[in-house]
Symmetry: C2
Subunit: 234 residues, 2 copies
Protein backbone atom coordinates (compact mmCIF):
# COMPACT_ATOMS: atom_id res chain seq x y z
CA UNK A 1 0.00 0.00 0.00
CA UNK A 2 1.31 3.45 -0.82
CA UNK A 3 0.20 7.02 -0.55
CA UNK A 4 1.03 10.21 -2.38
CA UNK A 5 0.80 13.72 -0.94
CA UNK A 6 0.87 16.58 -3.39
CA UNK A 7 1.09 20.25 -2.44
CA UNK A 8 -1.30 22.47 -4.39
CA UNK A 9 0.97 25.37 -5.26
CA UNK A 10 0.15 28.66 -6.94
CA UNK A 11 -3.10 29.46 -5.13
CA UNK A 12 -1.62 32.63 -3.66
CA UNK A 13 -3.37 34.89 -1.17
CA UNK A 14 -6.98 33.89 -0.51
CA UNK A 15 -9.46 36.78 -0.21
CA UNK A 16 -12.97 36.97 1.26
CA UNK A 17 -15.45 35.59 -1.24
CA UNK A 18 -12.87 33.57 -3.16
CA UNK A 19 -14.09 30.29 -4.57
CA UNK A 20 -11.56 28.06 -2.81
CA UNK A 21 -12.72 24.88 -4.55
CA UNK A 22 -12.26 26.53 -7.96
CA UNK A 23 -8.77 27.73 -6.99
CA UNK A 24 -7.80 24.23 -5.85
CA UNK A 25 -9.23 22.61 -8.96
CA UNK A 26 -7.42 25.16 -11.19
CA UNK A 27 -4.04 24.76 -9.50
CA UNK A 28 -4.33 20.99 -9.12
CA UNK A 29 -4.44 20.90 -12.94
CA UNK A 30 -7.04 19.38 -15.27
CA UNK A 31 -6.19 15.74 -14.61
CA UNK A 32 -4.66 16.17 -11.22
CA UNK A 33 -7.74 15.79 -9.05
CA UNK A 34 -9.24 12.28 -8.98
CA UNK A 35 -12.07 10.38 -7.37
CA UNK A 36 -11.17 9.44 -3.80
CA UNK A 37 -8.50 12.08 -3.50
CA UNK A 38 -8.62 13.71 -0.10
CA UNK A 39 -8.13 17.47 -0.39
CA UNK A 40 -6.72 19.06 2.77
CA UNK A 41 -7.27 22.82 3.10
CA UNK A 42 -5.88 24.98 5.88
CA UNK A 43 -8.22 26.74 8.27
CA UNK A 44 -6.53 30.01 7.37
CA UNK A 45 -7.51 29.70 3.73
CA UNK A 46 -11.05 28.64 4.61
CA UNK A 47 -11.49 31.43 7.17
CA UNK A 48 -10.27 34.03 4.66
CA UNK A 49 -12.51 32.75 1.86
CA UNK A 50 -15.46 32.76 4.25
CA UNK A 51 -14.65 36.29 5.41
CA UNK A 52 -14.00 35.25 9.01
CA UNK A 53 -11.71 38.25 9.45
CA UNK A 54 -12.11 40.86 12.15
CA UNK A 55 -10.51 44.31 12.20
CA UNK A 56 -8.13 44.81 15.13
CA UNK A 57 -5.85 47.69 16.10
CA UNK A 58 -2.40 46.73 14.74
CA UNK A 59 -0.70 49.02 17.28
CA UNK A 60 -2.37 47.41 20.28
CA UNK A 61 -0.93 43.97 21.03
CA UNK A 62 -3.94 43.14 23.22
CA UNK A 63 -6.62 44.03 20.69
CA UNK A 64 -7.33 40.41 19.76
CA UNK A 65 -8.00 39.43 23.36
CA UNK A 66 -11.71 40.27 23.44
CA UNK A 67 -12.06 38.01 20.38
CA UNK A 68 -10.41 35.14 22.25
CA UNK A 69 -12.85 35.57 25.12
CA UNK A 70 -15.82 35.74 22.75
CA UNK A 71 -14.76 32.58 20.91
CA UNK A 72 -14.24 30.63 24.16
CA UNK A 73 -16.86 28.82 26.17
CA UNK A 74 -14.46 27.67 28.88
CA UNK A 75 -10.90 28.63 29.76
CA UNK A 76 -8.77 25.62 30.76
CA UNK A 77 -5.46 27.35 31.47
CA UNK A 78 -3.88 30.80 31.32
CA UNK A 79 -0.18 31.60 31.41
CA UNK A 80 0.98 35.08 30.51
CA UNK A 81 -0.57 35.96 27.17
CA UNK A 82 -1.46 32.37 26.40
CA UNK A 83 -5.03 31.18 26.87
CA UNK A 84 -5.93 27.50 26.38
CA UNK A 85 -9.67 27.33 26.00
CA UNK A 86 -12.53 25.32 24.65
CA UNK A 87 -14.01 27.07 21.63
CA UNK A 88 -17.68 27.38 20.78
CA UNK A 89 -17.06 24.43 18.40
CA UNK A 90 -15.70 22.21 21.18
CA UNK A 91 -12.04 22.37 20.14
CA UNK A 92 -9.46 22.88 22.86
CA UNK A 93 -6.64 25.06 21.56
CA UNK A 94 -4.56 28.16 22.14
CA UNK A 95 -6.29 31.55 21.91
CA UNK A 96 -9.53 29.93 20.73
CA UNK A 97 -8.08 29.66 17.26
CA UNK A 98 -7.88 33.46 16.86
CA UNK A 99 -4.85 33.95 14.66
CA UNK A 100 -2.80 36.92 13.48
CA UNK A 101 -0.12 35.13 11.45
CA UNK A 102 -0.46 34.95 7.67
CA UNK A 103 -3.28 37.50 7.91
CA UNK A 104 -3.05 41.12 6.72
CA UNK A 105 -1.94 43.54 9.40
CA UNK A 106 -4.90 44.97 11.25
CA UNK A 107 -6.95 41.79 10.94
CA UNK A 108 -7.41 38.63 12.98
CA UNK A 109 -8.76 35.39 11.52
CA UNK A 110 -11.39 33.44 13.44
CA UNK A 111 -12.14 29.74 13.01
CA UNK A 112 -14.90 28.92 10.51
CA UNK A 113 -18.33 28.89 12.15
CA UNK A 114 -18.77 25.21 11.28
CA UNK A 115 -15.70 23.58 9.72
CA UNK A 116 -17.53 20.36 8.81
CA UNK A 117 -19.94 22.49 6.80
CA UNK A 118 -16.98 24.36 5.24
CA UNK A 119 -15.54 21.00 4.17
CA UNK A 120 -18.91 19.88 2.77
CA UNK A 121 -19.25 23.08 0.75
CA UNK A 122 -15.80 22.66 -0.80
CA UNK A 123 -16.49 19.00 -1.52
CA UNK A 124 -19.85 19.83 -3.14
CA UNK A 125 -18.29 22.61 -5.19
CA UNK A 126 -15.46 20.34 -6.40
CA UNK A 127 -18.08 17.82 -7.47
CA UNK A 128 -20.10 20.53 -9.24
CA UNK A 129 -17.02 21.85 -11.07
CA UNK A 130 -15.43 18.53 -12.04
CA UNK A 131 -17.75 15.63 -11.31
CA UNK A 132 -15.05 14.26 -9.03
CA UNK A 133 -15.92 12.70 -5.67
CA UNK A 134 -13.16 14.00 -3.44
CA UNK A 135 -13.07 14.03 0.34
CA UNK A 136 -12.17 17.28 2.09
CA UNK A 137 -10.39 17.89 5.40
CA UNK A 138 -10.00 21.36 6.94
CA UNK A 139 -6.78 21.45 9.00
CA UNK A 140 -5.52 23.72 11.74
CA UNK A 141 -2.32 23.89 13.75
CA UNK A 142 -2.72 23.00 17.43
CA UNK A 143 -0.34 22.51 20.32
CA UNK A 144 -0.64 19.54 22.64
CA UNK A 145 -0.09 19.02 26.35
CA UNK A 146 3.01 17.06 27.41
CA UNK A 147 4.75 17.37 24.05
CA UNK A 148 6.53 20.32 22.51
CA UNK A 149 5.76 21.51 19.03
CA UNK A 150 2.55 21.93 17.09
CA UNK A 151 0.99 19.51 14.64
CA UNK A 152 -1.74 19.93 12.08
CA UNK A 153 -5.06 18.50 13.12
CA UNK A 154 -8.49 18.24 11.49
CA UNK A 155 -11.21 20.71 12.44
CA UNK A 156 -13.65 19.68 9.74
CA UNK A 157 -14.19 16.95 7.17
CA UNK A 158 -16.58 15.77 4.48
CA UNK A 159 -16.79 12.56 2.49
CA UNK A 160 -14.35 10.74 4.75
CA UNK A 161 -14.59 9.04 8.14
CA UNK A 162 -13.18 11.24 10.90
CA UNK A 163 -12.55 8.17 13.04
CA UNK A 164 -11.99 4.66 11.75
CA UNK A 165 -13.22 2.14 14.26
CA UNK A 166 -11.11 -1.00 14.21
CA UNK A 167 -12.60 -2.38 17.41
CA UNK A 168 -13.85 -5.87 16.87
CA UNK A 169 -11.50 -6.54 13.97
CA UNK A 170 -8.58 -8.80 14.67
CA UNK A 171 -4.92 -7.92 15.02
CA UNK A 172 -2.21 -9.55 12.92
CA UNK A 173 -2.16 -12.49 15.34
CA UNK A 174 -5.89 -13.11 15.01
CA UNK A 175 -6.98 -11.75 18.37
CA UNK A 176 -9.63 -9.10 18.83
CA UNK A 177 -8.29 -5.56 19.07
CA UNK A 178 -9.71 -3.60 21.95
CA UNK A 179 -9.21 0.13 21.53
CA UNK A 180 -8.29 1.09 18.02
CA UNK A 181 -10.41 4.02 17.06
CA UNK A 182 -7.96 5.81 14.83
CA UNK A 183 -8.43 9.55 14.35
CA UNK A 184 -7.98 9.19 10.62
CA UNK A 185 -8.55 12.81 9.62
CA UNK A 186 -6.04 14.03 12.19
CA UNK A 187 -3.42 11.74 10.67
CA UNK A 188 -4.36 13.02 7.21
CA UNK A 189 -4.05 16.65 8.35
CA UNK A 190 -0.63 15.95 9.88
CA UNK A 191 0.53 14.19 6.73
CA UNK A 192 -0.58 17.09 4.52
CA UNK A 193 1.35 19.58 6.64
CA UNK A 194 4.56 17.82 5.62
CA UNK A 195 4.14 19.30 2.14
CA UNK A 196 2.39 22.54 3.10
CA UNK A 197 4.94 23.82 5.60
CA UNK A 198 4.24 26.97 7.52
CA UNK A 199 5.94 29.63 5.49
CA UNK A 200 5.56 28.41 1.93
CA UNK A 201 2.07 29.75 1.41
CA UNK A 202 0.66 26.42 0.22
CA UNK A 203 -2.91 26.35 1.58
CA UNK A 204 -3.96 22.95 0.20
CA UNK A 205 -2.66 19.45 -0.46
CA UNK A 206 -3.99 16.32 -2.07
CA UNK A 207 -3.67 12.98 -0.25
CA UNK A 208 -4.04 10.15 -2.74
CA UNK A 209 -4.23 6.41 -2.11
CA UNK A 210 -6.30 6.23 1.08
CA UNK A 211 -8.24 3.03 1.77
CA UNK A 212 -11.52 3.02 -0.18
CA UNK A 213 -13.42 1.88 2.90
CA UNK A 214 -12.66 5.19 4.64
CA UNK A 215 -14.70 7.27 2.20
CA UNK A 216 -18.11 7.87 3.78
CA UNK A 217 -19.98 10.68 5.50
CA UNK A 218 -17.81 12.02 8.32
CA UNK A 219 -17.77 14.81 10.88
CA UNK A 220 -14.98 16.06 13.12
CA UNK A 221 -17.48 17.66 15.45
CA UNK A 222 -19.52 14.49 15.92
CA UNK A 223 -16.77 11.89 15.83
CA UNK A 224 -13.69 13.54 17.29
CA UNK A 225 -14.72 16.31 19.67
CA UNK A 226 -14.83 14.55 23.03
CA UNK A 227 -17.73 15.51 25.29
CA UNK A 228 -16.40 17.15 28.48
CA UNK A 229 -18.03 14.45 30.62
CA UNK A 230 -15.95 11.74 28.89
CA UNK A 231 -12.77 13.71 29.25
CA UNK A 232 -10.21 13.08 31.96
CA UNK A 233 -8.47 16.41 31.35
CA UNK A 234 -11.23 18.98 31.69
Amino acid sequence: MSLEILGVEGIGEVRPGDDLAALIVAEAGPDKLRDRDCVVVTQKAVSKAEGRLVVIDPDDPTSHKPLVEAESVRVLRRRGDLVISETVHGFVCANAGVDLSNVDEGYAALLPLDSDRSARRIRDRIRALTGIEAAVVVSDTFGRPWRRGVTDTAIGCAGIAAVVDLRGTTDALGRELKVTEVALVDEIAAAADLVMGKSKGIPAAIVRGLDEAWFRTGSVREEIVRPPADDLFR
Copy 2:
Protein backbone atom coordinates in the same frame (compact mmCIF):
# COMPACT_ATOMS: atom_id res chain seq x y z
CA MET B 1 6.46 19.65 -3.37
CA SER B 2 5.25 16.08 -3.04
CA LEU B 3 5.73 13.15 -0.74
CA GLU B 4 5.44 9.41 -1.10
CA ILE B 5 4.63 6.98 1.69
CA LEU B 6 5.31 3.32 1.02
CA GLY B 7 4.31 0.48 3.33
CA VAL B 8 7.06 -2.11 3.84
CA GLU B 9 5.09 -5.32 3.47
CA GLY B 10 6.20 -8.90 4.00
CA ILE B 11 8.22 -8.46 7.18
CA GLY B 12 5.92 -10.77 9.11
CA GLU B 13 6.14 -11.44 12.83
CA VAL B 14 9.18 -9.87 14.48
CA ARG B 15 10.96 -12.03 17.10
CA PRO B 16 13.42 -11.14 19.87
CA GLY B 17 16.89 -10.77 18.39
CA ASP B 18 15.63 -10.14 14.85
CA ASP B 19 17.70 -7.70 12.81
CA LEU B 20 14.91 -5.22 12.07
CA ALA B 21 17.06 -3.06 9.80
CA ALA B 22 17.96 -6.10 7.68
CA LEU B 23 14.28 -7.12 7.45
CA ILE B 24 13.30 -3.61 6.34
CA VAL B 25 16.12 -3.42 3.80
CA ALA B 26 15.20 -6.88 2.43
CA GLU B 27 11.49 -6.12 2.09
CA ALA B 28 11.99 -2.60 0.79
CA GLY B 29 13.76 -4.26 -2.15
CA PRO B 30 17.26 -3.69 -3.54
CA ASP B 31 16.63 -0.26 -5.02
CA LYS B 32 13.75 0.77 -2.84
CA LEU B 33 15.59 2.43 0.02
CA ARG B 34 17.27 5.75 -0.85
CA ASP B 35 19.32 8.47 0.80
CA ARG B 36 17.03 10.81 2.76
CA ASP B 37 14.24 8.30 3.02
CA CYS B 38 12.68 8.40 6.45
CA VAL B 39 11.95 4.88 7.70
CA VAL B 40 9.14 4.72 10.25
CA VAL B 41 9.08 1.60 12.44
CA THR B 42 6.38 0.78 14.98
CA GLN B 43 7.24 0.55 18.65
CA LYS B 44 5.77 -2.94 18.70
CA ALA B 45 8.27 -4.20 16.14
CA VAL B 46 11.16 -2.46 17.90
CA SER B 47 10.14 -3.75 21.34
CA LYS B 48 9.85 -7.30 20.01
CA ALA B 49 13.21 -7.19 18.23
CA GLU B 50 14.81 -5.79 21.38
CA GLY B 51 13.19 -8.49 23.53
CA ARG B 52 11.14 -6.01 25.57
CA LEU B 53 8.58 -8.76 26.26
CA VAL B 54 7.48 -9.80 29.71
CA VAL B 55 5.65 -13.02 30.59
CA ILE B 56 2.19 -12.44 32.06
CA ASP B 57 -0.58 -14.82 33.13
CA PRO B 58 -2.96 -14.94 30.13
CA ASP B 59 -5.84 -16.03 32.40
CA ASP B 60 -5.46 -13.09 34.75
CA PRO B 61 -6.71 -9.85 33.15
CA THR B 62 -4.88 -7.81 35.81
CA SER B 63 -1.48 -9.42 35.41
CA HIS B 64 -0.06 -6.54 33.36
CA LYS B 65 -0.93 -3.98 36.02
CA PRO B 66 2.26 -4.28 38.09
CA LEU B 67 4.15 -3.61 34.84
CA VAL B 68 2.17 -0.40 34.29
CA GLU B 69 3.05 0.77 37.80
CA ALA B 70 6.73 -0.12 37.32
CA GLU B 71 6.93 1.75 34.01
CA SER B 72 5.25 4.88 35.44
CA VAL B 73 6.92 7.69 37.33
CA ARG B 74 3.72 9.66 37.87
CA VAL B 75 0.06 8.81 37.44
CA LEU B 76 -1.95 11.69 35.95
CA ARG B 77 -5.40 10.10 35.82
CA ARG B 78 -7.14 6.82 36.55
CA ARG B 79 -10.56 5.72 35.40
CA GLY B 80 -11.58 2.10 35.77
CA ASP B 81 -8.86 -0.01 34.24
CA LEU B 82 -7.32 2.93 32.40
CA VAL B 83 -4.21 4.59 33.78
CA ILE B 84 -2.80 7.74 32.14
CA SER B 85 0.72 8.14 33.39
CA GLU B 86 4.09 9.62 32.67
CA THR B 87 6.53 6.88 31.76
CA VAL B 88 10.15 6.62 32.82
CA HIS B 89 10.97 8.11 29.39
CA GLY B 90 8.78 11.18 29.95
CA PHE B 91 5.94 10.16 27.63
CA VAL B 92 2.39 10.65 28.85
CA CYS B 93 0.21 7.82 27.59
CA ALA B 94 -2.24 5.10 28.54
CA ASN B 95 -0.96 2.19 30.62
CA ALA B 96 2.63 3.46 30.39
CA GLY B 97 2.86 1.97 26.92
CA VAL B 98 2.45 -1.60 28.22
CA ASP B 99 0.65 -3.35 25.41
CA LEU B 100 -0.99 -6.75 24.94
CA SER B 101 -2.30 -6.37 21.37
CA ASN B 102 -0.31 -7.84 18.50
CA VAL B 103 1.82 -9.71 21.06
CA ASP B 104 1.74 -13.49 21.64
CA GLU B 105 -0.69 -14.57 24.34
CA GLY B 106 1.01 -14.69 27.71
CA TYR B 107 3.29 -11.75 26.94
CA ALA B 108 3.17 -7.99 27.31
CA ALA B 109 5.35 -5.61 25.30
CA LEU B 110 7.07 -2.73 27.08
CA LEU B 111 8.34 0.44 25.41
CA PRO B 112 11.99 0.36 24.29
CA LEU B 113 14.33 1.50 27.07
CA ASP B 114 15.51 4.42 24.91
CA SER B 115 13.63 4.83 21.63
CA ASP B 116 16.01 7.48 20.27
CA ARG B 117 18.81 4.94 20.71
CA SER B 118 16.65 2.26 19.05
CA ALA B 119 16.19 4.61 16.09
CA ARG B 120 19.93 5.35 15.95
CA ARG B 121 20.76 1.64 15.95
CA ILE B 122 18.40 0.94 13.06
CA ARG B 123 19.75 3.93 11.16
CA ASP B 124 23.37 2.83 11.73
CA ARG B 125 22.55 -0.72 10.70
CA ILE B 126 20.81 0.43 7.50
CA ARG B 127 23.90 2.49 6.67
CA ALA B 128 26.18 -0.50 7.39
CA LEU B 129 24.08 -2.83 5.23
CA THR B 130 23.43 -0.50 2.29
CA GLY B 131 25.52 2.67 2.58
CA ILE B 132 22.27 4.61 2.55
CA GLU B 133 21.75 7.60 4.84
CA ALA B 134 18.16 7.14 5.96
CA ALA B 135 16.42 8.80 8.88
CA VAL B 136 14.50 6.60 11.32
CA VAL B 137 11.40 7.35 13.39
CA VAL B 138 9.99 4.92 15.98
CA SER B 139 6.22 5.41 16.23
CA ASP B 140 3.64 4.48 18.83
CA THR B 141 -0.11 4.89 19.09
CA PHE B 142 -1.26 7.37 21.72
CA GLY B 143 -4.59 8.84 22.72
CA ARG B 144 -5.02 12.56 23.34
CA PRO B 145 -7.06 14.63 25.75
CA TRP B 146 -10.09 16.48 24.34
CA ARG B 147 -10.20 14.52 21.11
CA ARG B 148 -11.45 11.01 20.45
CA GLY B 149 -9.37 8.48 18.61
CA VAL B 150 -5.70 7.60 18.69
CA THR B 151 -2.97 8.81 16.36
CA ASP B 152 0.53 7.58 15.74
CA THR B 153 3.21 9.69 17.36
CA ALA B 154 7.01 9.56 17.47
CA ILE B 155 8.75 8.10 20.52
CA GLY B 156 12.22 8.08 18.99
CA CYS B 157 14.12 9.39 16.01
CA ALA B 158 17.56 9.50 14.43
CA GLY B 159 18.97 11.47 11.53
CA ILE B 160 16.01 13.84 11.41
CA ALA B 161 14.93 16.90 13.40
CA ALA B 162 12.22 16.02 15.92
CA VAL B 163 11.05 19.64 15.94
CA VAL B 164 11.50 22.11 13.10
CA ASP B 165 11.79 25.59 14.48
CA LEU B 166 10.30 28.14 12.10
CA ARG B 167 10.40 30.98 14.63
CA GLY B 168 12.15 33.94 13.15
CA THR B 169 11.38 32.95 9.57
CA THR B 170 8.72 34.97 7.82
CA ASP B 171 5.20 33.95 6.92
CA ALA B 172 3.85 34.14 3.35
CA LEU B 173 3.08 37.83 3.91
CA GLY B 174 6.64 38.62 4.98
CA ARG B 175 6.02 39.07 8.69
CA GLU B 176 7.89 37.22 11.38
CA LEU B 177 6.18 34.04 12.56
CA LYS B 178 5.95 33.78 16.31
CA VAL B 179 5.28 30.23 17.45
CA THR B 180 5.89 27.69 14.77
CA GLU B 181 7.85 24.89 16.27
CA VAL B 182 6.43 22.03 14.26
CA ALA B 183 6.66 18.54 15.77
CA LEU B 184 7.93 17.14 12.50
CA VAL B 185 8.47 13.54 13.60
CA ASP B 186 4.97 13.35 15.06
CA GLU B 187 3.55 14.41 11.70
CA ILE B 188 5.76 11.82 9.99
CA ALA B 189 4.59 9.08 12.37
CA ALA B 190 0.94 10.01 11.77
CA ALA B 191 1.48 10.03 8.00
CA ALA B 192 3.11 6.59 8.07
CA ASP B 193 0.19 5.13 10.01
CA LEU B 194 -2.05 5.88 7.02
CA VAL B 195 -0.31 3.04 5.15
CA MET B 196 0.48 0.79 8.11
CA GLY B 197 -3.01 0.49 9.52
CA LYS B 198 -3.57 -1.34 12.74
CA SER B 199 -4.51 -4.81 11.63
CA LYS B 200 -2.47 -5.32 8.48
CA GLY B 201 0.74 -6.35 10.16
CA ILE B 202 2.87 -3.76 8.36
CA PRO B 203 5.47 -2.67 10.95
CA ALA B 204 7.38 -0.19 8.79
CA ALA B 205 6.88 2.47 6.14
CA ILE B 206 9.12 4.70 4.07
CA VAL B 207 8.39 8.43 3.84
CA ARG B 208 10.14 9.86 0.79
CA GLY B 209 10.44 13.48 -0.31
CA LEU B 210 10.91 15.30 3.00
CA ASP B 211 12.70 18.66 2.95
CA GLU B 212 16.50 18.15 2.86
CA ALA B 213 16.96 20.75 5.59
CA TRP B 214 15.16 18.52 8.09
CA PHE B 215 17.81 15.80 8.02
CA ARG B 216 20.11 16.37 11.01
CA THR B 217 20.72 14.84 14.41
CA GLY B 218 17.41 14.69 16.26
CA SER B 219 15.93 13.36 19.50
CA VAL B 220 12.33 12.95 20.60
CA ARG B 221 13.36 12.85 24.22
CA GLU B 222 15.34 16.11 24.07
CA GLU B 223 13.21 18.06 21.62
CA ILE B 224 9.63 16.90 22.16
CA VAL B 225 9.21 15.63 25.71
CA ARG B 226 8.06 18.71 27.60
CA PRO B 227 9.55 19.20 31.06
CA PRO B 228 6.79 19.00 33.70
CA ALA B 229 7.61 22.55 34.87
CA ASP B 230 6.81 23.94 31.39
CA ASP B 231 3.59 22.00 31.16
CA LEU B 232 0.19 23.49 31.87
CA PHE B 233 -1.47 20.09 32.13
CA ARG B 234 0.57 18.25 34.76
